[in-house]
């Protein structure tokens, strides 16, 4: 039984116009193991799994399930072979309950008078039992549109289990989760393995592989590079296998050389669009050449601080000073002109106009000024030259250069475009909110280097991140926010990671994590 593979994908090749997404890839997965597929965005992990799940047909190669050669032409055929998949973007019916979502397509039936009817009572009961069996607590009667992302993910997992899937594929399952939610998901994945399920985990995060996987296949540019046992794998080596060159995981960070105070936030109180006070009496200063990071669990008011400084949210009380001058009453454009660059959290809705091309997006900060506009007419050649310059300087990759529609670009390159546009203004203050969310290790490093570079040239940097590692690595000063208030501000080297974590949870457990969670969901 030990050498029995439950799933084999042999010599799989898949070509798309202009690109070989999978090039002679072979993976063999044992029953009851957690098998990680590690690689950067675009390495071919998702394509390989889409082939397994019946969404693409391979050009070459064969798939064996339990030793039998199979053709998988559709997701329902994959389900018939007891293969299930949790996609990165969930496919849930938002106005259905959790139970209705899970049983959809396989509903238990009862009689309504003499007519057949869906038996929701039985469905609720079945889901309750199933969720207890695997330790995935959910309320079957809760409406999916009203529950959080991590619970929605549990619903997706339960959907697979309800269909009695044995091989479970997770596509980048931690991309949208907070650190606590990631912990609990990884536990769930471990439990599933221990109850006999086979798990394939698609990810670009090394530490997740290290924490849960038994074996790990590294993909790069469509090719299988290596398969390793996680227990005896060296993180640094795997990272370089993944990226394709020797990379240093440590950043070359020079000591801070601070100048005058650039940003001075005094007793800032901000309410969100629903009128709830998210930021309460927050004060901090950032000097030139300093990175101040605000650490905290998602939803504690950090985004609202950034939005208030950039002018996206009105200030309820308090004052914001830039270079000693109050900007509290200024419009967004006036603030930008005074010297604020902003890399927002939501790059799709706030950072970019997805259906515009790259050159228009890169010109968004300048389009109304000369030489971009002359006598009220946009100067296309100026846009093009400027875009080409930035594309070259910041290594923004896309299919057709300045004319690429931004929606079609990868997340990493979209973010590079925003960073390029904002940094190029040469402003004294840059705000980065979640700058590396969803990016792979290579793109992440480039962004980190840009942040340090800006700080070294004498810019004040406000960094807001949910990734504690990122905060610890980059910050000169850390301010920890909890429930809209900054609990502690101190030089980064006086904190340990554990201490920051404790402040993030509200210091010494005045309120436990669950209480916080509940509060956030309300």
């Amino acid at each position: 039984m030990d050498n029995e593979y439950i799933l084999e994908m042999l010599h799989i090749t898949k070509r798309f116009p202009g690109i070989v997404a999978n090039d002679d890839v072979t993976i063999q997965v044992k029953k009851g193991e957690i098998y990680a597929l590690l690689g950067e965005n675009g390495a071919g992990k998702s394509t390989l799994m889409s082939i397994l799940y019946g969404m693409y047909e391979p050009d070459e190669g064969e798939i064996r399930v339990r030793g039998q050669k199979v053709e998988i032409g559709s997701p329902s055929q994959a389900a018939g072979l007891s293969i299930g998949m949790v996609h990165q973007h969930f496919t849930l019916v938002t106005d259905f309950t959790i139970a209705e979502n899970i049983v959809l397509g396989n509903e238990p039936m009862t009689k309504f008078g003499f007519l057949p009817a869906v038996d929701l009572k039985k469905a609720n009961q079945q889901i309750r039992e199933l969720s207890q069996k695997y330790g995935l607590e959910v309320d079957p009667t809760a409406v999916v549109g009203e529950i959080g992302v991590s619970v929605q993910q549990r619903v997706e997992i339960l959907k697979m289990l309800y269909r009695e899937a044995e091989i479970l594929i997770f596509d980048e399952p931690t991309a949208f989760l907070t650190p606590q939610e990631i912990d609990s998901l990884l536990n769930i994945i471990r439990n599933l393995r221990d109850s006999g399920k086979t798990i394939i985990l698609i990810t670009h995060k090394l530490d997740e592989v290290k924490r849960v996987a038994d074996r790990c296949a590294v993909l790069r540019r469509g090719k299988l590079i290596d398969v390793r046992n996680v227990a005896d794998m060296d993180t640094r080596e795997i990272a370089s296998l993944m990226v394709g060159s020797e990379i240093s995981l440590e950043l070359d960070k020079q000591p801070m050389n601070p100048g005058a105070v650039v940003l001075d936030v005094r007793d800032l109180t901000v309410a969100n669009s629903e009128g709830i006070e998210m930021v309460k009496d927050v004060s901090f200063q950032i000097r030139a050449g300093e990175i101040l990071a605000i650490a905290g669990v998602s939803g504690n008011g950090q985004t609202e601080i950034a939005d208030a400084i950039a002018g996206l949210l009105p200030v309820r009380s308090g004052d914001i000073l830039l270079g000693g001058e109050s900007i509290t009453g200024l419009s967004i454009r006036e603030r930008a002109q005074k010297g604020i660059s902003y890399i927002p959290e939501d790059r799709h809705n706030v950072g970019l106009i997805l259906d515009y091309d790259l050159e228009d997006n890169l010109g968004l900060r300048r389009y109304y000024r000369e030489p971009f506009t002359k006598n009220g007419n946009l100067q296309e050649n100026v846009f093009r030259e400027y875009a080409d310059k930035l594309i070259d300087k910041y290594d923004i990759r896309s299919s057709s250069g300045a004319e690429t529609i931004v929606r079609s670009m990868s997340g990493g390159n979209q973010q590079k475009a925003i960073v390029a546009r904002e940094i190029e203004e040469g402003n004294p203050l840059i705000i980065f909110v979640q700058p590396t969310r969803g990016l792979d290790i290579g793109a992440m490093q480039r962004i980190h280097k840009s942040i340090l570079h800006e700080r070294d040239r004498g810019c004040a940097v406000l960094l807001i991140s949910l990734e504690l590692d990122e905060v610890m690595e980059l910050a000169d000063t850390i301010a920890v926010i909890y429930n809209g208030r900054i609990g502690k501000t101190a030089p980064a080297d006086t904190f340990t990671k554990q201490e920051v974590g404790a402040y993030m949870m509200g210091v010494g457990g005045q309120q436990n994590a669950e209480g916080k969670e509940r509060e956030r969901n309300e």
């Binding site: 997701p75 938002t94 209705e100 959809l104 397509g105 509903e107 007519l115 009817a117 869906v118």
Partner: protein, 322 residues
Amino acid sequence: MTLINNTIIDGMAFMLPLLIMAIGGIFSERSGITNLAVEGLSGMGAFTGALAAYIMTTCLGISSGPAYYLSFLFAALGGMLLGLLHAFLCIDGKANQVICGVVINILAQSVTIFLVKTINREIFGKPSDKIDLGVSARYTVPGLSKIPVLGAFFTKIYPFEVMIIILTLIASYVLYKSRFGMHLRACGDNPHAVDAAGLDVAGIRRRAVMISGALSGIGGMAFAYSISAKFSASYFVGYGYLAIAALIFGNWTILPTLRACVIFGFARSAGYQIVQKLGYPSSYQDLIMILPYVLTLVLLIFWSGKNRSPRALGEIYDKAKR
């Protein structure tokens, strides 16, 4: 007393056809297909039903009783066939659903009028732009109709009123209790989830739009009997759009849509009765005819904020796009 009684009698006769058309719209829209074609679908139903009734009574010698009921069957078929065109254009042709609905309305109106004239001239040999229907029988339930006020609900009932009430019950069961209804509602919220569950999104939606066409046709036939006892160009006065307004006010659910239809129906009939009672000239009656539409505008202001349309409504479903 007669004022209230007549308000109820007329109100029911107006409200129920409107309701069944709105329910048809709910089926289509809850499956994710915008259906502005209710007007055209009901008109096509009224035309085919009226034509069938005329042929059955004058040419085939079928007595008016069975012909009456059969005409509704043909009306449902006519509406369903045109609904199938809407479904084909929207689902298979991936057409813009709003434009498609409007085009079907225009098409139904011009085609039915053309056909009425041509058939009258070529087949029946008389120049006429209408199809006459016999006057519908109306029933009064003995005993129950003697109850004060409430008795009006059992007085001078058109047979179609009973038919529509039964259909409403069946439609509620199908939409909320049956497996098909569950799949249909899921399609309107997230077709990808339906697809992932191994179900056929296009097939479910096609059936939903055909049901919509059939119910619209039945509603249209009922209007043809109750309002004018004929089918002609004057049929198209926009009740289909009113049905859409009702289902939007009803938040795409059957019971609140019933409430909206009650308001429309009784406002119209009450206004009509009051004008008659006061003995105003007929121009005032015309004014009353616009009451449901004015009411729609007023209600829009109060009700719009709370309403939430099906999430995938009007979006063209493309399997590959996620």
